[in-house]
């Protein structure tokens, strides 16, 4: 079990943070921007080539794989963008774009006498990043087979073994829900999650759950829980 998949419903936690800023430290917007540029320049996208030296795949799935494999306590200890900073730095080192020594030395420079930021780069790089943001990366595909379930069907959420990434919320595993609606067409996922089951285009359902079935005696009244779930994660209802 990976704790990060089971956050929904976890008990004993703190009061809610009421911090409404997106970036609570100025440096956080820099790492957000770097991540967004990586997604935009990732070579699997059907966008114009640029002179950027970025040539390896980077999607949300890659970012999340890193977060999901963290020690659960580091996951909670580090603030949201601190985890990004760690994961993205490690990716650039692991993929040979920079060395750890370079990064450590440059960090030390910025701690002691901050050097001027380098200038320049090809405008085509920024143009592609802008195009990515405004156009996106549409996962919708034509549906090749009819959806397996219909609105109103009772379904059971599967409990696939997750290798390093999943889109099954832990609190829904093995639980029964009702198909509330079926999204048009079919949806790919950002990567193939292997035995977990998603990747290829497949129907996606909005599934309705009774919170009392999710957390018996331990939830609230007049409350309905909905989640969007890929077809591979759903099975026909079983008696229980």
């Amino acid at each position: 079990m990976k704790l990060q998949h089971y956050l929904g419903g976890l008990e004993g936690l703190d009061p809610i943070s009421l911090e409404t800023r997106v970036f609570v430290e100025a440096w956080e917007e820099r790492i957000f921007g770097i991540h967004t540029a990586m997604m935009a320049l990732s070579p699997q996208l059907n966008l114009a080539a640029t002179p950027s030296t970025f040539g390896t795949v980077w999607t949300w799935a890659d970012l999340r794989k890193g977060a999901e494999s963290m020690n659960p306590f580091d996951y909670f200890k580090f603030r949201y963008y601190e985890k990004w900073l760690g994961g993205i730095s490690a990716y650039f080192v692991a993929n040979g774009y920079i060395t750890q020594e370079e990064l450590d030395a440059r960090t030390k420079d910025f701690l002691t006498s901050p050097p001027a930021m380098p200038k320049g780069g090809d405008a085509a790089v920024d143009a592609r990043v802008r195009t990515y943001l405004l156009v996106g990366d549409d996962p919708k595909r034509d549906r090749s087979t009819p959806p397996r379930f219909a609105s109103g069907d009772v379904v059971r959420v599967a409990n696939p073994n997750s290798v390093d990434h999943t889109r099954v919320p832990g609190h829904l595993r093995n639980k029964h829900g009702v198909i509330d609606s079926i999204y048009p067409d079919a949806y790919t996922y950002l990567c193939d999650t292997g035995p977990d089951g998603i990747g290829e285009a497949m129907p996606v359902y909005c599934v309705r759950f009774d919170p009392e079935a999710l957390w018996p005696g331990n939830t609230e009244k007049h409350f309905t829980f909905y989640a969007d779930i890929f077809e591979a994660y759903l099975e026909p209802a079983t008696a229980s």
Partner: protein, 206 residues
């Protein structure tokens, strides 16, 4: 609450590391010296909660638009003149959950931080914090009360967990005291928190 002790130079070290990384990536030709600033500028002016607020205001004044927004969210969004033409990264497929006197909607992402960028921009810190993600799934009323929002016990709460490729946002209820307001005046009242379901839109200050 200070739950963990951190090195006193934590943020200084983080800031230096982030700048070091960015400067190396510029030198190595991965990104340009303008890339990050240009991205931030897009979120400041083109993809942000100002778009969502316009959608909400339009829905408040135009019942047919509101119905379209509920039933075919992307078709409604396309009618707006957003730079993203109604799509854009993290908003290729969006759905609006419409608040009514009987139903209050709340969006969460228990697995990470999925959020409709083209209409809401980037998510506030609290939405990404594990306490919100964990607790809003099981005890939304208690969570909302910590935001200062007490939901009538007889009102249904619907929580929408963004666990696939669809991104959700909430259309809050129109506040009292806004008769005759223009769409622009109405949009100015709409906060990101109200489009996430953790606050109501407040009536205009008198």
């Amino acid at each position: 609450m200070q739950r963990f002790e951190y090195p006193t130079d934590r943020e200084t070290a983080n800031a230096a590391r982030a700048r070091a990384l960015e400067s190396l990536l510029i030198e190595k030709g991965v990104i340009t010296s303008e890339t990050v600033d240009k991205i931030m500028s897009i979120f400041a002016t083109e993809m942000g909660p100002f778009n969502g607020a316009k959608l909400v205001a339009r829905a408040w004044v135009d019942p047919a638009f509101k119905m379209l927004l509920a039933e075919n969210t992307m078709a409604a969004v396309e009618k707006m003149n957003f730079v993203t033409k109604g799509a854009g990264a993290e908003g290729e497929h969006m759905r609006a959950a419409i608040n009514t006197p009987e139903v209050h909607n709340l969006i969460i992402c228990t697995l990470c931080s999925c959020y409709p960028w083209p209409v809401l921009g980037l998510p506030p810190y609290w939405y990404k914090d594990p306490s919100f993600r964990a607790r809003a799934a099981r005890e939304p009323r208690k969570v909302l009360s910590e935001f200062g929002l007490d939901i009538d016990p007889g009102k249904e709460i619907k929580t929408w967990d963004s666990s696939a490729q669809i991104r959700w946002f909430v259309v809050p209820e129109r506040p009292a005291g806004t008769d005759g307001f223009t769409e622009e005046q109405l949009a100015a009242l709409v906060t990101p928190e109200s489009m996430m379901g953790v606050s109501m839109v407040k009536p205009p200050a008198r």
